[in-house]
Amino acid sequence: MSNQPGLYEETIKGIWRENPVFVQMLGLCPALAVTNSAINGFAMGAASTFVLVGSSLLVSMFRNLIPKQVRITTFIIIIATFVTVADLSLQAFTPLLHKELGAFIALIVVNCLILGRQEAFASRNRLPYAVGDAAGMAGGFTIALIMVGGIREILGSGSFFGVPLFGDNFEPWVIMILPPGGFLTLGVLLIVFASVKKRSDKRKQVRLES
């Protein structure tokens, strides 16, 4: 394990360099579907964080006990359990938010980001690394959802986290909180992220060559 990056790198990579939504393009379904407001994006991100960190923790802990042939099934059982726990807790403690997110909480089970991290990382790495990786990826996912949700809410409802930003004269751009707004916002953000990444990669290369 000498050439493995440190715990800090494994954690931080999910935020920016390997951001699940903007770079890996995973978990796009919830990123489009529930992000009509910043709070919904945040809630979806928080629920996914809980599921991802919890599943990675268990998968990494039992990684040597789970036979290879049934690993995917076992991962799914673990993930589904966490999702149901999140679903019931939201229903019990924040019924309004649960109503708002509706069926999408249950659909976290099929978010490929979560199963992907189990298969690609948690099942091959020691516990602290697995949890760090999960927390970083989940953090990056949550930030992406809040960004998409925030932009759509500001343009489509004229508010941010429910706080009105503009005066009465503001005419909301309603399409932004409807499904097409999700595609538009995500597309623009992807362009921005890709071009920023390209530029910083070029700068790194120049530095290496000089």
Binding site: A33, V34, R63, N64, L65, I66, P67, K68, Q69, V70, T73, T74, I77, I78, A80, T81, T84, V85, L88, S89, Q91, A92, F93, P95, G102, A103, F104, S123, R124, L178, P179
Partner: protein
Amino acid sequence: MPTENRAGPIRLVVTLGLAGLFSGLVLVSVFLATQPLIKRNQVEALEAAIYRVLPGAETRKVFVEQDGKLVEAQSADGVEAVFAGYDPGGKLVGYGIPAAGGGFQDIISLIYGYDPYEKQIIGMQVLESKETPGLGDKIIKDQNFLDDFKALKVEPEILVVAPGTGADANEVDSISGATISSKAVVKIINQGNEKWRKLIDEKTESEGQAE
């Protein structure tokens, strides 16, 4: 990753069995812990909805069916009931009627307010549904759709018509993209009417004569 290449079938069964067992234990305990809270939330949501579908009502009484008549009951727990709402002067505003039925995905449960004097629906709110997000779930929030239920005659039977064509007092414009869900809502209300309206109307008439 496990070191051995092939685990025996027994090991596979045991692993999955244990995973299922622990998952089941966790789910049952979380379910038991959250159930009272979820129940309470639902009761509160129903309570708030009663006053929303009966504009002007401030107090309410529970009525259940007994021997073909409506009689007052203490609580609506575990029985089918309707809620009579009264304004501050004690005058009857109408009845909140909970009803449920099949939607596009799963059961839609809703409550609607019925004014027995005018014989019309005066409000409708969806309590629970799993309709398609972005399409069918517009039955919860679409203002034009909800406005159709603010003065909706129940005779003749309520009809669903194409968006923008509803002119008659007993017609509801369906939501474009959510036709099945719109029709389901109206069907649920018509079924609720079939079950409760005769009882409510008879009770209202007999009260009118007594005064």
